[in-house]
């Protein structure tokens, strides 16, 4: 336990986080105009630069050419998603924490020998899971309510939501 063993060190660090935060904001706000100026560069120059940055970045992840090819493949996927009004955010979220969620799920299943009851075993986890399920069902309930409530207004609302997709 660092908190007990090395008080000087821990509190020095915490204090430096306060000071460091202020220093960082000050410095970063000073650089805003520099970064903003980048936007003035015409698109014809910026576009190839972005491609270069992406290719170098993808290659440097694990020095693999396959990563570059995959990156370009993902570019096409991203384009299709945009054109078809599919949201990119859930896709990325699933890529980032999907395997962690799966690990957690399977470890819990091992712990409980396959019973889903483990997700309702204590207050904290029950609360989280119930909120999650409620959110999952929310669109369905809203849609049913709309269907039975006022059928006329549902069409216009759907199109306005279509536009704000990310």
């Amino acid at each position: 336990m660092l908190f007990v063993d090395q008080k000087d060190f821990v509190w020095g660090l915490i204090a430096s986080m306060y000071v460091g935060n202020i220093v960082a904001v000050a410095l970063v706000l000073l650089t805003v105009p520099v970064f903003a100026a980048l936007m003035r560069i015409p698109f014809v120059i910026i576009a190839p630069l972005i491609v270069i940055i992406c290719v170098v970045g993808a290659y440097s992840v694990s020095n693999s050419y396959l990563d570059v090819v995959m990156m370009l493949g993902f570019g096409v996927v991203g384009y299709l998603f945009k054109k078809l009004f599919y949201p990119l955010a859930p896709l990325v979220l699933a890529i980032v924490i999907g395997d962690k969620a799966e690990d957690a799920f399977r470890q819990s299943m091992l712990m409980s020998k396959g019973s889903l009851g483990i997700f309702f075993a204590n207050k904290l986890v029950t609360c989280l899971v119930v909120t999650g399920i409620a959110l999952l069902l929310l669109p369905l309930v809203l849609q049913l309510a709309r269907l039975f409530g006022k059928p006329a207004s549902s069409a216009t609302e759907a199109t306005s939501e279509e536009k704000v997709i990310i």
Binding site: A15, S16, V28, A94, T131
Partner: protein
């Protein structure tokens, strides 16, 4: 207040000329690392580790933590300007940051992002100061079922609160899960979905996916729309920088809500990424201008940035009190402490 006197003592250690100089260097290096996509904070911090071998432990951790700050801030820059998130946690910043920058307001977008990020970080640090021991116990109570519940909540909040059609959100999630499943299965150790390609065993890197999806994808759309007239005449004005920061208190509710989400997700190691996504989704549902999210809304930048940094900061708490790192960067930093 025992903690408070300890903190004041800590300030006497932190505010010395060499340490302040270290902070400036660390922050600048961090910004540099954060701006270059693909490098990222964990890599940057590990690059700096050798530099700290000869230093006092306190000086070393000050350099590393200010670099962590710099990288967190720098990661937002490319997300906003070029739609290329340098870190998983700054993906959500692109949703409104990039449209706003494209709209000729890059200064406002950047200043808003930095201001709210700083607020989130500050809340995180204050939390560490006062609630360290209590929070440590909560974090200890987290086992696999709790982790899964938190992740499940993050996914569900997108279906329930996202702006897109729920079915499309579910489809996007499903494709993402399939991509996440590629590689070695960490529970059983078997190899999945690699189609016989050895290089896929390690899985699909987040950086590769995101640079393609956002950077290249956006480029393709831009090329198709209009090739020439996309240079943005951005006004660069100091007044705008401070004006944007000064306008932040008007969005107090969004700031506080996002900071709370961020802290919660940081302590329960759900991490900054889940925090920023969740905060964005919730802000979209509860903001009065929620339907304009995705077109360059100020609150669409504030929410993910605040949550991201609140989570990033409070992720250091489990590390300090329990020795469990809440994020990859925190893990590398902890490695540095042990050497």
């Amino acid at each position: 207040m025992d903690n408070l006197s300890e903190l004041l003592h800590g300030f006497t250690i932190a505010i010395t000329v060499p340490h302040l100089a270290l902070m400036v260097i660390g922050v600048l290096l961090g910004i540099l690392v954060g701006v270059l996509p693909g490098l990222g904070a964990p890599n940057g911090v590990s690059l700096l580790l050798p530099l700290t071998f000869g230093m006092q432990p306190v000086s070393a951790i000050i350099l590393l933590s200010s670099m962590y700050w710099g990288a967190l801030f720098g990661g937002s820059v490319t997300s906003i300007l070029f739609n290329i998130p340098g870190e998983p946690s700054s993906v959500a910043t692109t949703f409104d940051g990039y449209p706003m920058a494209r709209d000729g307001r890059p200064t406002t977008a950047l200043a808003t992002a930095f201001g709210s990020a700083a607020f989130g970080a500050l809340v995180g640090v204050i939390l560490i100061t006062f609630l360290a021991s209590w929070v440590a116990q909560v974090a200890l109570a987290f086992g696999p079922p709790e982790y899964f519940a938190v992740y499940f909540l993050a996914f569900a909040s997108f279906v329930g609160m996202g702006g897109a059609a729920p079915i499309k959100t579910v489809v996007a999630l499903a494709i993402g899960f399939a991509i996440a499943a590629i590689g070695i299965d960490t529970v059983s150790g078997s190899v999945r979905l690699t189609m016989g390609i050895d290089e896929l065993v390690k899985g699909v890197s987040f950086v590769v996916a995101v640079m393609g999806l956002f950077g290249i994808g956006e480029l393709l759309v831009a090329v198709e729309e209009e090739f020439h007239a996309r240079a943005v005449s951005s006004r660069i004005d100091w007044r705008e920088v401070f004006g944007a920061v000064g306008r932040l208190p008007r969005h107090g509710v969004a700031l506080l809500r996002s900071a709370a989400i961020g802290c919660w997700m940081g302590i329960t190691p759900g991490g900054p990424t889940a925090a920023s996504f969740m905060s964005y989704g919730i802000a979209r549902r509860f903001s009065r201008r929620g339907r304009y999210f995705g077109t360059g809304e100020v609150e669409g930048i504030i929410s993910p940035e605040t949550a991201d940094h609140a989570a990033g900061t409070s992720a250091l708490l489990p590390m300090l009190s329990l020795g469990i790192p809440g994020s990859a960067t925190a893990a590398v930093m902890m490695g540095g402490l042990m050497i």
